[in-house]
Symmetry: C2
Subunit: 627 residues, 2 copies
């Protein structure tokens, strides 16, 4: 497939999407501008001999690519993205700007002159909640406050569907048609998402807004079963150390194609500095697994990990602006023997590290014993929990076993503790699960975790296709997304085999956008089907460019089409490149409709009444269609 | 991705699969040899300090690649494959060898000397049922006869699972573990498929054995909801006319990666001759859409089609050996207006052609009015019906509408007529359907068509990803396969955009093998999970080569792994290329087990009892694991 070409010397992908422009929708409650992508479409030619045309209204879609795809935006990775949320954060009057980084490790790195050339140019002093304050979105929601973040999200989730019916005219009925969904008891609004609805969902813990006060560059987004299904892309620095700009590009590249959040799983010496660059330049929330960095600090000796070291690592990352932490606090000593008879044992890295610590110390892990202290840190910066499933199954045979579900129940207990502190919480899920056992995972999660958002890795529905696990897992991801999972962690073709390259990351992201969107359609998210309808209409009318531009990956769609019919003429040709002129069924159906139009008849009437005339007409110039 | 390298001058792909050999299992009722693929595995090293190893039994898998992957087989496309079924056919005493081709068109082509260099070298005289005889497998099944085809299929579907438990020894329990499936009322046997069970399923019409008496080269296979889910790959000659060998290679290539049947959708001047080459060299059943060729015979003027011309085309292709015909006999005049308000109208080529004919003549199509005469032809050669869904939806918006389900009911009526003649029948299905509306398709098909095998195209679960429709459709295909669909027609990445190349065909086939296998696992087909278990065990034990060899696409799995860790040493390295030594969770879990082994303890006991010692051991040589 095509590897995107980036102009020489330009490391950061900035090419705008074809026929698209950024639009900024103003808020009504707050002074905010919600960035979206508007795709303009060409006109439909009405083949009635009078050269009439019909306008096709533009389609507005959810856009995760940030300012990078806006030609009017000035981008300089050294200064970072605009800090759009900073005034909102300070405006609430419950935060203080710290004179200095308060984590020992962070301070030590800052003091090291040998890192000067690595360090992000402009050092922002971190914010923290004033003593006794709680700055989590959940805390505000429970106090009845609709924050700018909440209004931003409401507008963003609606994708301007209110415009569509207005502009449609005659096509309104067909174009706005959407099959009623089945959302398994989720109470998604039928018409629009309102700011108040966002507040209610966050207040009850059914949705999470990852929004560290130290990551004001991120565009607010929400994770919850009553909202659009989101996807996460994992990035990590490669063994061959690449430049800072290349590290930033990995995040930009993933967001460009649709990643709603990024997890930075980098390892090695300079992850502190690399993370700073990524956060400062990321328009989407950033998640991490702090235990990875903690392990590096003890040279990989799991048993040497301590609460104090881990605590300092949490503060270090919280003050950089990490929006959510994966924490494997559910791996209890007594659960570990339950994995002994598994085919693949423990496959979660964090889970293995904590299992090893528990076995080495013969104690419950500090993640579990110090959980309330962790909550205190989370609410001081509004970092959300992503409670890790350290005992998830690593193969179909181990799916839905005692170890997995025992941990899930513990995650449910921890969720209630987090909520006691108004700390936002997500629950992580599997993994490898055959199709018929997927639903049980969703049902148990809802049961034990009080509808806290579920965040799953796939699940993979078979183990026999290494090299294609983006596909084996997209099947499970689409299904569990439909059942109620709020965010899907992508899997790339390299899963189980190696480190993903740029093409793998794009393949993983696009594949997961497909799974997430398929789930939105099945759940019946308001307006979810509109883009499908618009693309299908373009397809039927042979508006090739519109088809490409409405697709998740316009570059690949256009490239594949051009392989067969490279000429520009072909893109307005009235037959599809698949069938050729003699065989294009869509063309044949069009002829029937044009006939109706010429007769000035309703299509159904035309088809019913006009058959005899059509029979004569066909005999007269029967072969016309195919010439 | 990798494009398979074929040795210079060799057009036909013949490279055997790694660590694999052909095995031939003898029948007990009949003198037959069932070809399968046996994958041998390396030993497991038990890390107890004594250098002990443990044997891993070989895994036998279903093999559609025919003699091409057997290094002992002599292949000459000019003489075709061995005619393994010819004696079975003649042995039944109910067929006659015709002196000459009985279709006018076939005779005309044969008489044309300008075609001599195109024509398949060795002309076989066609077989036909003796007057008054019915040679369909359904007819034999209903008479209580277990044919060699039926026994072949029973042995083939079992994949020698009877061996596994024997050879497993200690691992038997874990390795033979399979989650009980949910097959939605299909009565799949729990243990083995028996020849008698095959007969019963064919007799009641719930399964079909496509096996034209004039295609004795094909290895018997079955399509039914109580058997392994099958996949079909479409091939067609490209506009740029390629050599005969290249046309044959397309079929060989698709079978190599797992196509259970091939549909030849070629068009143009020499399809008669091309088809002969493909059939003579195809180890899997061949399907066609005869109306395509009929349309060519009238220069693409649908309204000029006649019953006589179509009838001659059926005989022409039946005498060449086509195993199943897609026939769109359900497109009735009164259904056509039901498509008028659709976004994409009629998208089936055959459906459009017949709709056009109906409108032009203001009559029901000859496919419908002459259906019983068609049955007479089918049973004289044992060609199976694949009743085409000419009114299937072409976009999500049109899914499950009145036109689609009206046609489905008519297909149900036609099925009963076909069964009256003991003619084997499959029903074709959609298309484009959102996830939550897929099940209704399966349920209505079962209801209206008396459990005749369902054969669907995907369905695609969203319209917004042209370029990735193998994935949008694999999601729907896996689900509908689980619900009971017997065969899945593949979709390639080029769907809606252009003609698939070799890489697209492979991507489509592998993607559909994934969907079909995921469905087998969810239905609980006997032994379906064994290959997953074996691959997972290899993964846990870092037996990289075994992982590659057990996968659906060993070449790509190995290539992806080598991109990150090219050294051969890496393939036995005790860490996974994804995580690296510090982070490999599987390695950490292994250490726990090795510890148990060293203590000579049961793993669970070891984990429970041994923690204190382990704690000390870890402190002593804690960092060992990571060095």
């Amino acid at each position: 497939m095509k590897v995107e070409k980036i102009p020489d010397g330009q490391v950061i992908s900035r090419t705008p999407f074809p026929a698209s422009r950024k639009v900024f929708v103003k808020g009504q409650l707050h002074d905010i501008e919600v960035a979206m992508r508007e795709i303009s479409l060409s006109e439909t030619k009405i083949h009635n001999g009078f050269g009439l045309t019909e306008k096709n209204p533009s389609v507005t879609v959810y856009d995760t690519s940030g300012p990078y795809t806006d030609p009017n935006a000035h981008i300089d990775v050294k200064s970072g993205l605009p800090r759009i949320r900073e005034n909102w954060v300070t405006g609430r009057g419950d935060v203080e700007k710290l004179d200095q980084i308060t984590s020992a490790y962070g301070a030590q790195r800052l003091a090291d002159p040998s890192l000067d050339q690595l360090r992000f140019a402009f050092q922002h002093q971190p914010y923290r909640a004033k003593a006794g304050q709680n700055v989590s979105q959940m805390h505000y929601a429970r106090k009845g406050i609709i924050t700018p973040e909440m209004e931003y999200i409401a507008i963003r989730e609606n994708q301007r569907i209110e415009l569509w019916n207005k502009e449609q005219g005659e096509q309104a009925e067909a174009m706005s048609h959407q099959h009623p969904g089945n959302s398994f008891g989720a109470n998604t609004p039928k018409e629009f998402i309102t700011p108040e609805f966002v507040r209610q969902e966050v207040a009850c813990g059914r949705a999470v807004i990852p929004s560290n006060i130290n990551h004001p560059e991120s565009e607010p987004m929400i994770i919850g079963r009553n909202f659009l299904v989101k996807i996460n892309a994992n990035i990590g620095n490669s063994a061959v150390t690449s430049s800072i700009e290349e590290e930033v590009e990995k995040a930009v590249w993933a967001c460009r194609w649709g990643a709603d959040t990024i997890m930075d799983l980098s390892t090695g010496k300079n992850i502190h500095e690399t993370r700073e660059w990524i956060i400062r330049n990321s328009p989407v929330p950033i998640g991490t697994v702090p235990i990875y960095q903690a392990l590096e600090k003890v040279n990989g000796k799991a048993e040497d990990l301590t609460w104090e070291l881990f605590r300092d690592t949490l503060i270090e990352q919280a003050e950089q602006g990490v929006d959510y932490f994966t924490i494997h606090a559910g791996v209890l000593l007594r659960y570990i023997p339950l994995t002994a008879k598994r085919i693949t044992g423990i496959v979660s890295r964090g889970g293995s590290i904590m299992a090893k610590w528990c076995l080495a110390h013969h104690q419950e892990s500090f993640l579990y014993t110090h959980f309330e202290e962790i909550c205190e840190i989370m609410k001081a910066y509004d970092v959300a929990f992503s409670l890790g499933d350290g005992l998830r199954p690593g193969c179909l045979a181990d799916a839905n076993d005692a170890a997995q579900f025992a941990e899930l129940e513990t995650l449910g207990e921890l969720t209630k503790i987090a909520w006691k502190h108004d700390v936002q919480t997500i629950i992580e899920g599997p993994g490898h699960v055959p199709m018929h056992l997927i639903k049980a995972n969703m049902e148990k999660q809802l049961e034990h975790c009080g509808e806290a958002p579920f965040y799953t890795l796939g699940p993979l529905t078979t183990d026999i296709a290494p090299g294609y696990d983006h596909i084996t897992s997209a099947i499970g991801a689409a299904m569990i997304g439909w059942y109620g999972t709020a965010m899907l962690c992508y899997v790339t073709p390299k899963e189980h085999l190696g480190l993903p390259n740029k093409k793998d990351v794009k393949d993983g992201v696009i594949t997961y956008k497909i799974a997430a969107h398929a789930a939105d359609l099945a759940k019946g998210h308001p307006g979810a089907q509109y883009r499908d309808n618009a693309l299908s209409k373009a397809r039927f009318e042979f508006r090739w460019e519109d088809q490409f531009n409405l697709s998740l990956d316009p570059d690949t769609a256009k490239e594949f089409h051009d392989e067969t019919l490279p000429a520009d003429g072909a893109k307005i040709a009235h037959f599809c490149s698949m069938c050729g002129p003699n065989f294009c069924s869509m063309k044949i159906t069009q002829d029937v409709r044009e006939y109706a139009a010429k007769q000035g008849l309703d299509e159904a009437d035309a088809l019913a009444k006009g058959m005899k005339e059509k029979s004569r007409e066909f005999t007269e110039k029967g072969s016309e269609i195919y010439l």
